[in-house]
Symmetry: C2
Subunit: 207 residues, 2 copies
Amino acid sequence: MSTAPTTEKGRRTRARIVDAAAELFYERGVSATGLGDVIAASGTGKGQLYHFFTDKGDLVSAVIRHQVEGTLAPQRELGLHRLADLQEWARQAVLQHERSPVMRCPLGSLVVELSNRNADAASALEAGFAQWRELMSGWIAQLQRRGEARTDLPADDLADSILAAYQGGLVLARSRGDLRPLETALAMAIEGIGSRRAPAGRHRAHG
Amino acid sequence: MSTAPTTEKGRRTRARIVDAAAELFYERGVSATGLGDVIAASGTGKGQLYHFFTDKGDLVSAVIRHQVEGTLAPQRELGLHRLADLQEWARQAVLQHERSPVMRCPLGSLVVELSNRNADAASALEAGFAQWRELMSGWIAQLQRRGEARTDLPADDLADSILAAYQGGLVLARSRGDLRPLETALAMAIEGIGSRRAPAGRHRAHG
């Protein structure tokens, strides 16, 4: 387990290491990043890194918790209440990747890259995705109560369909160097959670 | 560029190297796999590997072409004509991952892991995903002509939404160690490409 910093200086040093590692893991991947790269990029020393982290796996787990927070905190602040807000969320998600050529989700890319045998990392990622789903599912449950989202499927499943469109849309976008598949996948997934109406001729208000 | 084998024995040796590398890259990732691992797993020698491949990047490109073929060949044989066949395709896609705990797409995982700066690999992956989309889009265009798929969006975009659900559903499945989000995402994406009907009360046959 990593050692918690006891001083403000220690806290800043630890944060510098985690920030540098997060950026390198995001841009190059975890396997392609050595601890020496993290030390160089953070401007810290080997002794400082090993003071806070027992090994690379320990640092990876700290980076995952940092990325979960970095991904979810801005989304928690969005205050999503209407279906139009979900469309705005999608627009922001696309915009964010327009500013960077990496086109990877900091969490999704770790899920794909890291071995399932790395139990600490796997459970930190599982917890992170569970929080993300819970956030999205809470929004969607509100939409269901307002009659703006379909109610024939649980909000959790609808949340999965949106998160899957985001993750998979990014994979396609990265393969093509173009964000259009991400926009398309998100737009269709959001349309797909909208409230169902009965097919024409059946005259029921809700499906 | 890799050297093409001129004898049957050479062809088999090259294939053994590519198969072993494909399996290791799939299970562990490219960065975590050394050429020594590939030599050991394939039961070949360093001289043989360097006879066929100039370097690791060259081997990676060969593995990508191999995985594109391995992914698309069985799908090409499916002969998909009806929306129900697309549901069967999805069922098979899920089943395939039930047999393996890896829960990664051999192509999507390479897109996520490999740097965009690896130009050969990036263009081989882009070509592979373009072929996959073309295959899927051809199926969907048939469904559009039969009135089984919506026609308000191009078949290419509908294909993207299905492939994104597959890629992203797998990311969620892997994070949770459970294939349900993959099933959900695929079912909703397939539902989403179905032919639109006008909302109740508007009395139009098609939206």
